[in-house]
Each structure stands twice: as C-alpha cells, then as structure tokens.
C-alpha cells in the first residue's frame, strides 16, 4: 500500500503547484484583499467593541488584553480557512467542473502528484495570507518578535493539515453543495470552540477533552504563544499533534482521490 501511495510521488508535483500559482498571479490583487481587511474588521468588532466588556484575559499565567488574545486566533482561523477552502471548493471545481485533473492525467503526472501539488498549494495560500495578516496585526503592536516569525512555518504545517483534511472531503463528497456538511460539523465548531474567542479552560470538562482533538486548538495554541512570546513545553505537543494529523489525513486524501478519479 505504501509503495502504491508514495511510489508515484516525484518532485514533478511542483508542476501542479506551479499551475495554481500561474493562475494566482493573474488574480493576486483580489486575493490580497481579504487577508488585508478581514483582521481589521475582526479587531475592530471583537477587540475594541467586545473587548471593552471583557477587559484582561489570563493566558499561560500572563495577563493579556482581549485584543492580544484574539489577534493570534484570527491568524490561526485564517490558516485553517485558506487551506481548507482551497482544497475543498477550489479543488473540487478543478477536479469536477474544469476537468483539470483529467487533463493532467494524460501527461506524465500521477494522481498522487496532482493531489500533493494541490495540498501544498492550499498550504501556500495559508502562508501567503498569514504573511499579509501578520503585517497588518503587527502594526497594532500585537505580535512579539522574533518569535512571531515562527508563525510562518507554523502556517505551512497548519495549511498542510487542513488542506489534507479538505482534500479528503473532496475525495468523498458527491456534489459541491455537500461541503456544507463537513463545514457545519467540523469547521464551525472548531472556529468557535478551539480557544479562539475564549480560553478552552472556560468550557466544561468533557468539551475541553473534545477541543483537544480539534487540530485548530493546537494551531491556535501555537500561534498565540508565538505572538505573545510565551514559550512553553506543550507547544511541542501541539506541533506533534499537527504533524501526526497531517501524516494520517494526507494518505487518506490520496487514497480517496485515487479511488474517485482512477476508473
């Protein structure tokens, strides 16, 4: 099984990434807008409007402003969304409506290389958006440097994890409308309960246990610690969790996509 999965992956997967990058270069001006303005909207609404009600929040024994608490969560959510939506809706359109993968399969590319290229592209979009957002948030003095620079490689790791998850759903979803289901079941609960807008510790015990399973909880934990500049041992565990999550979902995505496309 392993030979079938990985034996077909050469560095040629980069050609698939390059195809998406060529398309991105044509529309980059529009792609730049959401990560530029979205954090501003959120910071305004939650940080300034809502934050006035909340005051200071305790995080890792430190007192931080609500603004400094949610700014990293916005980055983490953004990492999740960029990769997840790229490898669900956008990949599905390329696969099903545009027949882009069918055309690629008449060339020396393997299906595994196509899917790898797509997932790495999804992660790339997470990294690009993170770079822009990081710059915007840094203007408000909410990111601690140099540890904040590590958020970029974390975005790549998180992008691969959520991209592989999205690709897995693309492999099994019958129609594009059906993506509503995984979004409702996974993405929305993660968005709300992964220690994003309030600490996980505020949840009841059973919900806390559930939140630990969410990859976004670990991504938020990483980005927040790096933003605030408070390094602690459980960061390593969060990195490991995201790596293991990717190592499980990536081959699952390959298997499902091969099953779906190769007939």
């Amino acid at each position: 099984m392993r030979a079938i999965l990985y034996g077909n992956i050469s560095k040629r997967f980069f050609r698939v990434w390059q195809r998406n990058f060529t398309v991105y270069q044509k529309i980059w001006k529009i792609s730049f807008v959401p990560p530029l303005f979205e954090p501003l909207f959120y910071l305004l609404a939650f940080g300034i409007g809502f934050g006035a009600l909340v005051g200071k929040i305790k995080y890792q024994g430190l007192e931080v402003s609500y603004l400094a608490f949610i700014a990293p969560a916005l980055l983490a959510i953004n990492i999740m969304n960029n990769a997840f939506f790229e490898n669900t809706y956008a990949s599905f359109v390329r696969m099903y409506h545009q027949k882009t993968f069918d055309a690629m399969l008449t060339t020396p590319l393997s299906i595994e290389e196509i899917i790898t290229g797509e997932i790495i592209w999804g992660a790339t979009k997470s990294v690009i958006a993170t770079g822009i957002m990081l710059a915007v948030i840094s203007v408000f003095g909410l990111i601690n440097y140099p540890s904040g620079l590590l958020i970029i490689p974390v975005a790549l790791l998180g992008g691969i994890a959520f991209g592989a998850l999205g690709m897995y759903f693309t492999g099994i979803t019958p129609t594009i409308d059906m993506f509503n289901l995984p979004i409702f079941l996974f993405v929305t609960p993660m968005f709300l309960f992964s220690g994003t807008f309030f600490p996980v510790e505020n949840l009841p015990g059973w919900a806390q246990a559930l939140a630990v399973i969410f990859p976004l909880t670990h991504l938020v934990n990483l980005v927040r610690s790096l933003s605030i500049g408070s390094m602690h041992a459980n960061l390593l565990w969060s990195v490991c969790y995201l790596i293991i999550f990717s190592l499980v979902l990536f081959p699952l995505a390959l298997i499902k996509m091969r099953k779906r496309l190769i007939k």
């Binding site: 060529t22 882009t100 055309a103 008449t106 060339t107 020396p108 007939k263």
Partner: protein, 303 residues
C-alpha cells in the same frame, strides 16, 4: 517490425459491467488506426487503458514495446491525448494553456514558448493567443486541445471522438490537420462513430460492440467483404418488389419502410426495379463503411 501498440486479451471490468471483453489488436508505426463502435461499445475504455489512465483488468498491453503498468510515466511522456470532454484550463489564456501543459512534461520554458508559437500557427490560432478559453468557439477549442496534445512532440497521438459536436467546417479543419500530421509520419489512434471520418482518416479500423471486436481491416476491404460494391435503397417498397427481391435470393435487408439491397454490379437490377416497380424513391449508390457498421452492429438505438 515492432508495434506501437500491442494489446492481447485486453479486458476492463467495472463493478458490474464488462466494458472491454478480451480484445486483441496491433497498431503499426505511422498508421492511423480507428476504433469504431456505437455508444457504450468500449471504445473510450480501451483507449483510456492505452494512455495509462485506467488500469486494465486482464490481458497484456504494450505501448512502444513497454509494459503500460510498469513504465506508464515514460510511455505518457511520448504520447499525446485529446480527451472527449473539453479539459482546457478556463483559468488560463490560449497560450498559457500550452505553456502550463508543457511544464507537466518538464519542457524548458524557452522550448515551450517556441513550440507553442509553432503549434498556434499550425491550428490557426496565433491571432488569439491572449484570448480566454470561454471566448473560443467549439472548433477552436478542439483545435487547441489538439495543439496541446502535440506540445511534447508525441510519437503516438490518441484522439477520443475528435470531431463530435462540431459543424462541418470545423470538422474539415480538424481532418486536414490530422492528415498533415499523418503525412508527417505520426502514428494515430482514434475513436469515432462517424464513418466518413474513419473512411477518410484511417488506414485500418476495428468495429467494436459490447466490448468485443467484430471485424478488423482496411475500410475499403471491409466494405467489399461485408457489403459489396453497391447499395440499392428503395423507399416504401411495394409487396411485389419485396417478393421479387426475395425470389432473387440476394443479400438484402427489409426495414419496413425501406428496402436495402447489397451486392456487386447492381446497375441492371437497379434499372429493372426502376422500370418494373417504382419510378421514384429508388436509389443506387456506392457502399460505405456506414453500411458495414449498421449491418454488423444492428440498427437498434444505443442509449
């Protein structure tokens, strides 16, 4: 001489249907080989195995003398494919479609630019290089798919129904290009259910139905063997004519509203029928591959 494609006992089974049921054929270098058959005969399933898209269920399949299962990547690098469905990249321009495709073959950018310029000229789209795909007509799109399939200078060109859905002008445009490629020595494998297309382009054809090959040969030989030289068609034949033809004991087909008589040198019979039975609605024509096709695969609708 070594074959470009060599299939023997080739079989493809999907969950509950056998699409290709143990077929054998060979394609020689420089020849245009046609796979004909009604919808669902197994044409597309066959060529999808040849270009390494579908894994075969059983049998052996060699392309350029190489095993498709083991050496798929090097085989695909030497093959050009025009799929049935339009798979041009709508996110890219005409020219970018070729450039991006060239990258999939690891063709260096300078060589890709030169090759795509040459190909755009070949398909008369050099004036539309910056156009977006949705702006193109059906015929232009199909020509661009052809150009894209040629970007890697293939030794074998595979076309799945290259002119389905095109108007006569566009079809002739495609045929002309394919004839030029053939004259240049390119080996071509195509599927079609247009018999005029097969007669014009193919050196040899197989007619498939229900996953099996019914006949194989040169179009002209198949016509001679299965139909003869001429065909007489009579519209709304009267009962007297029917019994007359029956009494002659010759190859004929009675479709109710139409009587078809096959055979060699039918001029005299034609005049006799015209004089004795019907002044109008009677026609003598050359036999075509379509007659062979309909005789062998039947006249029932395939849906």
């Amino acid at each position: 001489m070594a074959y470009i494609i060599e299939a023997s006992g080739l079989k493809k089974t999907f969950a509950d249907v056998t699409a290709v049921d143990g077929i054998s054929f060979q394609v020689n270098q420089g020849e245009c080989f046609g796979i004909l058959g009604p919808n669902g005969a197994g044409k597309t399933s066959t060529i999808r195995m040849v270009y390494g898209f579908s894994p075969k269920t059983a049998g052996t399949l060699k392309v350029f003398g190489l095993d498709i299962e083991k050496e798929w990547r090097s085989i695909k690098a030497r093959v050009g494919v025009c799929t049935q469905e339009n798979s041009l990249d709508p996110d890219l321009t005409v020219e970018q479609n070729l450039h991006v495709f060239a990258r999939y073959f690891n063709i260096p950018p300078a060589a890709a630019r030169e090759k795509s310029q040459q190909l755009l000229k070949f398909i008369s789209l050099d004036q539309r290089r910056a156009a977006r795909i949705p702006e193109l007509s059906g015929g232009m799109m199909r020509r661009l798919v052809l150009a894209r399939a040629l970007i890697n200078d293939p030794e074998l060109l595979i076309l799945d129904e290259p002119t389905t859905g095109l108007d006569p002008q566009a079809r002739h445009q495609i045929w002309q290009r394919l004839e030029e490629l053939k004259a240049g020595g390119l080996t071509i494998l195509l599927t079609t259910h247009y018999m005029d297309e097969a007669s014009r382009l193919c050196d040899r054809v197989v007619i498939m139905d229900h996953g099996r090959i019914l006949v194989e040969g040169k179009p002209a030989d198949l016509i001679k063997e299965h139909i003869g030289h001429n065909v007489i068609e009579v519209n709304d034949p009267c009962a007297e004519l029917r019994s007359f033809v029956k009494s002659l004991n010759i190859e004929s087909e009675d479709l109710g509203h139409r009587l078809i008589i096959y055979g060699q040198g039918r001029d005299e019979l034609f005049h006799e029928i015209g004089n004795k039975f019907c002044k109008e609605g009677c026609l003598l024509r050359m036999a075509t591959l379509e007659d062979v096709f309909l005789r062998l695969t039947g006249r029932d609708l395939r849906e």
